[in-house]
Assembly symmetry: C2
DNA sequence: TCCTTAAAGCGACGAATGTTGCGTTAAGAT
DNA sequence: ATCTTAACGCAACATTCGTCGCTTTAAGGA
């Protein structure tokens, strides 16, 4: 029996206004700077508190862990405009893509590495990582559909499998095996994959 | 000027005998159990000390960090007899290999996942991870050389590239992208790679 | 058997990491 | 302009983590 005057209390962000927003902005900026300057290992609640000027307790209450901070930064900075380069051919598109992946993976300190490391600790970070990569693959699918439209690839080529084949060796080599990888090698995975795809290796 | 009576003090393990060995065995057993029962997140110095009956201080002195404990366990349990299955054909050899990788990656709690997570924290763990994978690739190279001997592959096929192509999508999907992977999918990466290799995709 | 001395045990300490209760501030509604 | 209250600031507390000085044990050599 709810009285008619009873205004809905509304769950969810009850007061997401001015101050809270400013605090969040300050904190996320601090997280980004700390990460860029000192790397993931130095990314601690206290360090972020000190740099942002926001109290420790607030961070513990709103984010609880460093991983949560990182996830929030990721969601906030998510670039909705990114698109793979359009070079006019599958092989060169994949080369451009692989070079971008390699560059991002090799930057120091590596944000990508930080996200992966975090994904091994908290489920939330893992979920963010999944979303991030899913989004990436989604956007990159056009590389394949364009190639199909140009007649370079069979019409039933699976974009996801093709992209996995091209990029996964880079991640594997750089993050799991932890060995260096030259740009030429990255290029080679692109060309090999493109050739295999054109031969129908990734047809459904 | 060393006096003739002056016995060499000998650097290195001065007294690796009975007690030390027993302590190490107890500790490593405890690490393995803790890891298997509660997973990597629960793997703490204190937990290992409690379970093994060895004092905290000893662990801090001899191993310093949990990652070092994990590395030591790995080195101690290293299986020098492992070899890839010989099924008589490249495709089926790769399928067997991928199934083994998938099974190991999917066990819960995952030792493989723990090692990877550790490799993002300590250089020592990273080095161990590199050694582990290098050793694995080394042993798996016979799969390729056998295929060459059978005439299935060009003589100048690069074993390492071929093996990367076959297995890296599994690691990528399971540990980076964190999505499930069916056995059929794992098999498919094996067959696709075998076909590409036979077409000369991994020639030097 | 006895001696020497690494290595393990032990407790106490300091620092870092989280937590809690309470007072204060300001967003948003009236 | 005033009121309500979510969110922040603050200080004190609890816990975990890693270190240090000292004592005790036992491995390995004489």
């Amino acid at each position: 029996m709810t009285s008619p005057v009873d205004a809905t209390p509304l769950p969810g962000p009850a007061r997401p206004g001015g101050r809270s927003a400013r605090v969040r902005a300050d904190v996320l900026r601090a997280v980004g700077e700390e990460l860029a300057e000192r790397g993931y290992d130095a990314l601690t609640i206290d360090a972020v508190a000190a740099r942002s000027g926001v109290h420790r307790t607030t961070l513990y209450r709103r984010w609880k862990t460093v991983d949560a901070l990182l996830v929030d930064l990721l969601e906030a900075n998510r670039d909705d405009t990114w698109a793979p380069a359009d070079t006019g051919a599958l092989t060169t598109d994949l080369i451009a893509l692989n070079r971008e992946v390699r560059t991002a993976a090799l930057e120091e300190p590596s944000v990508m590495s930080a996200v992966i490391a975090a994904s091994f600790r908290s489920p939330a970070a893992a979920a963010a990582q999944t979303r991030l990569l899913d989004d990436r693959y989604e956007r990159c699918a056009v590389v394949v559909t364009r190639a199909i439209a140009r007649g370079e690839l069979p019409a039933d080529t699976d974009p996801h499998r093709l992209l996995m084949a091209a990029t996964s060796p880079l991640y594997h080599q750089l993050f799991l095996r932890r060995q260096p990888m030259t740009e030429a090698e990255a290029d080679r995975w692109a060309t090999t994959t493109a050739a295999a795809a054109e031969a129908g290796a990734f047809q459904a």
